[in-house]
Symmetry: T
Subunit: 141 residues, 12 copies
């Protein structure tokens, strides 16, 4: 099994900024964690990050994967083009937010991805990605 | 570590009704799954289910646990008393919805628990409980 | 045919309070009326009343009936657990309000049951229950 | 007793269209049913149907009846002129919707008649008219 | 000068119903009052009343007048066709409500005519028509 | 009969500013017009204008009049103290707006006086005051 | 193929009023244009216009056509009866607005027809009708 | 005089939790305070607390008291059944919130009791109950 | 201890108007009551009333007191300047409404003071001021 | 005449995905159709598609065309930068949606382009582009 | 050039209260700063401050200046009379807020002045006044 | 000191389009103005403009500056990724709009940047950038 991990705008700065909010692990650390879980559970992860929504849309179009795990970050309330690409992919996809999205930004930012995601995980920190992969790999619901 | 699993109204009927929506696993099956994960990861789960919000409030008051995993079910938009009990417990607690709550009932039912939960998982089916326990047991963010 | 009549909170006080609003017939009188109509039309009515939503949920789970007639009373805007029990019962069910609910409390109280009920009757007074049973017993649309 | 039955726009096409939604009984069939109930219960029904709101207003002005039963159909969210005629008639009047109005169109169409009707019945199919007449004839509420 | 007086649905029943709300003067009385004011101030009034919005639209199209005075009655929140006819007439027009519209129905009924009327009078009772004619006849702002 | 004419903030500048919107008549001109109408119809007008809401409240408390005519001007959406003084005066009172208030400011400014006024006139220009006095003097509904 | 062209209230006045907004072509001109397109593309157009919603409903009921093109004009936000007739006709139907409806009246008038139309064209002026017929005749979508 | 003191869900934990928010006085302390005030002012207080809304409804039905003082706690936005019981009791009743309810939870929780209470006190801490009793005992408005 | 009592617009008319709503006690009576309570409990009250918000702001700036008790009256939904003066005073302050504000005007008037007040009392009639002073004098939470 | 055809995000996948919703014609097919219509009607079409809003903005800035036809796709509710580029171009421009936008996504996605477009066509499938070009080429209103 | 500086309610207390929010500079200091900038850039500033909206309105009426700089303070959401005076002055005027108004009070207080101001500056502290004067003095757009 | 000037989509076209709205100065002119102010006040400005939000995010990540001045232009209501980059930069940043944003687009476009900006300037035309730099350079609040 092959899972595409899609990291939205500003996530290339994870661990380099705002440790009180997101911890000190960098995106490289998180990718390594996901890959290690992949080895354990028998799935391959392929990764992308971009600050350009268009790049993420192109990547989703081209990805040869069985499922997606997406942290839309700044695109959460406005990334309709990325959302359409995911919906049209006809594959299951999970939304992951590192911090508890509802609690922190729920008043200010609507999550347009939430109503369409197969799976939604928020607040589990950097292990949220692994939990999502685990659920998708086990052919959950 | 000890985790309290709180199952809201009607969940005693899981697997006995509406298999298209919730699958065929009964609450007994799910409890066994959680306990098995507990054995693997080294935590004890204690369980309750009630159709009476007052019973769940009493149980949360009395529970000697390190964390809670809660599926509020029908109390999702109205269970302020249960919510207050969880908030006042000063322990981390996760909300788990079996199906993707946003997708199915998001227009009709607000989730009053979501803004206060440490962790939020929806759409992972019956393994959602285990994922939540795994995250809480690993001392996630 | 067997119809379960579910009376919500405070309805045990019918006829004992507020006669200008609800008339002077007690719940006992109303039960007798429904039973008499049952005799005429060939159905059995089984009755419950509780001020505890949990009791009503338990009763609906256990009821061996072909249809329900429900006056949710104070649960009208908040009884999601009772609503879920009715929806999951896979049987037809009617909502009955003694007074014309829209006219009196429509501004203050949303009826969360209305969108899912098979049949909705308000304002017919104590004969509303019999009308609902009559409609359900005749296999109406 | 004499009851005026007011059928709103498009109801002359009942049974001739959309049987999945409204069944196969025509307006003629329904009128016959109501008249038969009238014979049983001792009331006379007089009937009108029009696709012109103005005609219905004129008819209500001229009707020499003791009560009205109205299916406003397409006038449900906009028929203020018909509503005023009914309110000014100083007689009791019932709203009847063949299908469960809340369930089907509740999101799209407000029922401006509901807050003022003496009696409200929805979802009982073609026997809804007879139930309404029965309630009005028994001097209900 | 010539003023067209347009009376909306149900106003043919003025004085015949609901005297507590509208007084006991009939439409015939009011027409006589307006005509008398016309004689005093030097304008001719031409009158129409209909329960059919289409008739009022046709009448406005055909009217050879210098101004209109309109009581839209039941069309107040929904008479867009009549409103369009008035707006397209390129003549000044006044809205008159017999009772104080805001006070009585303001919560329930929006007045779609109000934002476009040259002149708006509510609560002056039957002399509101004469006041409006007086203002229009004096070439008010 | 004695009528108190209450002119709100900025109306002392009438005719000195913005002639395209309010014409060129000054407050002195308007007062003279009202007084002339008073002579014709047999009522006395007493006048006040202030840019201080508190002054207007004091004046309403002290006024020995049979009715009020009020142009709240800038107090229209916020003058609750003036509104309370008028409501507590137990006398009839009219709101007058020189221009058609709904048309011009209806989107931006709610009129908190409108629901409580006996009489409401907008768009009649400077003769609106006289029309209001005329209606109040004739003991209109 | 046969297409019914339904022109709503006031459209009989097209070209006779407000040329800045709607141009100088009359309804007769437009009908001729549509017929000419029909000759070119091989469809017959049948026409109706009325200021009475009821007439349009009657006409839709009786029309023996394969599709409808409708300009609801003043009925746009309130013509539920016409909308029901179109929906129940089980034939494709297009909404045409001469001017760009959204741009001009979008803040004030909701288009209740838009969500149900097969095809929606606004802003194309008088050729909008021909474009709609062309699309319907080519078995579009 | 006899006053029923109704303590809602979680209030049995007062003083045992969250001292920064509610102080360190327990429910037992507060009951003693109220009783002491009762002795001073000449009223008897009878007490109940439950985490089950149904229990509180039953208690209100059965209570032989002259007035109620209610802290609805978690039932504040959803306890319509308790509210109905209080309204139907035909006795005066006060709402007391220990902390200033508006300030703390006003954005998240509507107080459905507030519009119907005779008396409303928030922010006075544990002496709020005594103040409410004092007001009710003095036959305040 | 010294408490400043701030009475908003129109309250100089208490007892002189509308006895059904506010009783027959005048502001002078109420001031005497408060002073008597002050003597009992050992606090001094200083009093102001004005129909000018600016006067109240000036008074709050100059007041040498330990706490304020404020009845904002007509300033309740709009007195941001008075509110700012109270917030900036860094002293505790209570809002008192004589009648139950929520019940009577809750739909029409927002209370902008409520979210910031230390203490909120409504519906206790003229003794509400004394209750507020008692709570502030006892160093309540 | 020269028309710029602007295809928004994901439209490069037309015909390759979701045939039930968009048919099986690819973007290449559609471009060929538009060009063929151009040959017939005497206009040149120039084409662009991008998943990057910035690319579309750049293209609109540089385009030497007389009009634009735009399918904003995923940018429909959020593409303010593209919208500004079109508005500032001072040329007429049409919005085209392949499926009936209102019907399918109207509840979820606002069309920010609609209020400013010269022409709006939805639901005509792939011929919508040609219809729009035809209208723009004929110098429609 | 001459600029009128209008300071709203409570600003006479600047620097005397709440230094964490507004700094320690008093209104006298700020006036000196503005005057110094005036000397540098060649404009005269004239100053007013009042806690009475009416005083500010009177001052704006009488001011012989070329522009206004206004900090409405507590009048920000309710000062329609001051706003009208500024709008009617036909001179350019700037709104200045010392702290970043949107950030601090944006949820609670609408700024009714913002849509009409020529220039809007918030968050620049005490130099905001000088920046505004600089912009107005340079004949900015 | 070093200030990063961030110009959003379409601003490369300043002065080349729409002179009535934005004047005739080009972006090159404005950059020269800012640099000249920098020379006067002792700060260096570094500039970027892009029609791609992703480019602006990348630039903010890489910028070695002490503060930012941002005109988000078309990103104003939707640029959450740019907003996150600015918030995470931990440096002060100003929003500048050339025209008075509230006045022109306030109804249509929310400014998601406003609540988080240190400083907000709108309506000062091209000198707004210099004013913002001046305020940031003087270490304003």
């Amino acid at each position: 099994m092959r899972i595409g991990i899609v990291q939205g705008p500003n996530l290339n700065r994870l661990g380099l900024r705002n440790p009180a909010k997101y911890g000190t692990r960098t995106l490289t650390d998180i990718i390594a964690d996901i890959d290690r879980t992949g080895t354990d559970l028998g799935f391959d992860a392929v990764h992308t990050q971009s600050n350009h929504e268009g790049d993420l849309v192109d990547w989703v179009h081209a990805a040869e994967v069985d499922a997606f795990v997406v942290n839309p970050a700044g695109l959460t309330p406005v990334g309709y083009s990325l959302l359409d690409a995911l919906k049209d992919s006809t594959r299951p996809w999970a939304v992951v937010h590192i911090s508890q999205f509802h609690a922190i930004d729920g008043r200010d930012r609507e999550d347009i991805f939430a109503p369409y995601a197969t799976l939604y995980i928020a607040g589990a920190g950097w292990i949220g990605y692994s939990l999502a992969c685990r659920a998708l790999a086990q052919d959950a619901p």
